[in-house]
Symmetry: C2
Subunit: 396 residues, 2 copies
């Protein structure tokens, strides 16, 4: 068990509540960044529930059960469904467990699924809510830094299948989203590190460089108090605006949020799901994106250096091949190809531009696959050489 | 194996193609009622695919494999995924098989899932397409009368879970829908009977009684040729209009299409999924709706008689209890309560009105549960009496 970071409650107690309202493909999502964990009364009121409460269900994991109990208080009216924790439980089996619990409780289409947990719990709960009676009501109480700045806002739901992260899923934005920093008080250090990578990613995408400068100023310490709230708020605001512009990732706007993710997901797949945190994988993927952007002449040298330097200040592994990447060139490329961000059979990547990010595709003019074979994998050099030769032949 | 009804091809050859375009919650669905089974060229063109075709997948069952082969012709570019046939295969396992085949084929988000089959195949394929990479592209070639007039149009997808029909699902309208009557040439008689019940249901809901008179004029014979096309077109047109008005059944419009279904689904559940056809269950449910509507003073006596008489002319079982309903009062009521049409904890039903249909809820003023206990189940009379007494006590 990793060491816990302990905060004085005072550090969280003075915080001003920040609220955002987004509209994702016609669905209104309200986000509340606040100190305290919400109560059932607050949730039902915010969900617009007047009169008798419908049968509802709260979903958590072993780690967030105390938070779930804090939400329900003494109220036995909303039963708690507790799942095992961890990315390796992000399966259809867990979705079925939630659906079974909802059936047992007698949830109607007007019933509310309340997720209390990190990204795994909110993705699973949101997926279950999206297919229960073809769509029920959803509220997310996000309890990890990563969940707050990544999974909770934007409507992506899903679970892992065939060893591929989020292989199956839906778009189903939550009506009410609570990001209570009180719940971070007991968050393990590796979870802070995982969330930090997504904050850095958002800062890189922000065309206003103030967010990036703010993260640099922390010199590798995780932000706390008002600075933490400021970081979460900036991240939520930018993500919300991007998702509003391209809710279902049919355009190129939302794809920007995948910076570091195509590489990161592939690393997670070949390392074995759950062996490194999402944030560590994304941080490593951002370093790869910087190298790729440099090779393509899109990322300026000083920007790539600044991003990798910021990643290193938070002790992320940025070198290739990654220590957990025990694989050859073909396997890693296959894992890259299995990522759902592929479009029209072409691999696409986001790389840092002079400002913000830019989408690039693997084409004859931009031989990304070739670059990857040369730089990212630890197969035997002769094998890589052969593959590169073949690739060159094919594109001639 | 039930006897096949054989048609001369001439009976289908002279038919005029009828096209409808609907917009369901922002998604355009084009419906083609036509003689011939479409080819891949037609499908890709109608799907707006210009240039190279993306990796795509055709899904069928053992019965519709010949139709699937007719669609692909000699083209090996679109692989066929063949499922076992039958309602009892409408499971997560089948969804996973489709998703696995799509992964093996390398389907991208721009790939097209093509369903070739009846309601089970189209519901499963549409669900898989809706969660594959959070929503891929979908085309349905409906090959049964029931599929054409029920599952193909309107965007409901799903599969059975925990013994409940369509327990999990999504709204995901197909972009292109083909209803080729050529595929009905080899349709077994029981499948005709299953589809006929949905045609009768739609005719009952149609405020213009011409459709109902048309069905009566068949005197129990299944329609063929132009009359068949006419029936399918009327059914599609009415259903399309209703779904356009209330795509996700959040209002009361779309709920009208559930006429006979709350009773029918409960019967299917207690009889054991797959033991009687959907149409037989819905027909029996419509007879129950007539009785309930009569008891509530909503359905005029002569209308109830006309509907039950039409059902009987097509040899549907209309008497309660149904021969396959080996259950007591409580079990049947529980099955009714498990149906996903429940709202706010209340059972709701559609009953025939003087014209069209009307939604009613179980309330103190309209003690539907009490009526059901008295009329629909074959438990011991003393037990039913006790339950009725309890119920009366509770509502006093």
């Amino acid at each position: 068990m990793p060491p816990y970071i302990h905060f004085n409650h005072e550090e969280f107690g003075s915080i001003v509540k920040k609220d955002y309202t987004f509209t994702f493909a016609g669905t209104v999502s309200e986000v509340h960044i606040q100190d305290e964990i919400p109560t059932l009364d607050t949730i039902f009121t915010d969900m617009g529930q007047k009169g008798p409460r419908p049968a509802s269900l709260l979903i958590c994991d072993e780690n967030t059960l105390p938070i779930a109990r804090k939400i329900t208080g003494e109220d036995p009216g909303v039963p708690i469904c507790t799942l095992q924790s961890g990315e390796e439980k992000k399966t259809w089996g867990s979705v079925e467990k939630i659906l079974g619990a909802a059936k047992a409780v007698g949830l109607g289409r007007d019933g509310i699924f309340i997720a209390a947990g990190g990204g795994v719990i909110s993705d699973l709960t949101a997926f279950a809510a999206s297919i229960y009676m073809r769509g029920s009501r959803l509220c997310i109480v996000s309890t990890t830094l990563l969940g707050m700045v990544d999974a909770a806002v934007g409507g992506k739901t899903g679970f892992d299948l065939f060893g591929v992260k989020n292989f199956a899923g839906t778009f189903f934005p939550a009506a009410q989203i609570y990001l209570p920093v009180e719940s971070l008080k007991t968050l393990p250090k590796n979870e802070w590190k995982s969330g930090m990578a997504e904050l850095i990613k958002t800062a890189v995408l922000d065309r206003d460089e103030e967010f990036f400068r703010l993260l640099k100023s922390f010199k590798g310490d995780f932000p706390r108090g008002d600075k933490l709230i400021d970081c979460i708020a900036r991240s939520v605001a930018l993500k919300g605006r991007i998702v509003e512009a391209d809710p279902k990732e049919t355009g190129t706007e939302r794809a920007l949020l995948n910076l570091g993710h195509t590489f990161g997901h592939a690393l997670e797949s070949v390392a074995g799901l759950g062996r490194l945190s999402h944030g560590e994988a994304v941080a490593w993927g951002m370093a790869r994106s910087c190298e790729l952007g440099l090779a393509l002449g899109i990322t300026p040298k000083d920007r790539a250096d600044a991003i990798i330097s910021l990643l290193r200040s938070f002790a992320y592994e940025t070198a290739a091949p990654h220590p957990l990447m025990e694989t050859d060139a073909e396997t890693f490329l296959k894992a890259l190809g299995g990522d759902k961000k592929k479009k029209g059979g072409k691999l696409t990547f986001i790389v840092p531009a002079a400002q913000g990010g830019q989408l690039v595709s693997d084409t004859a003019e931009k031989p990304i696959t070739e670059f990857l074979l040369k730089n990212l994998v630890n197969g035997g050099s002769s094998k890589i050489k052969n593959l590169t030769t073949n690739h060159t032949k094919n594109t001639n």
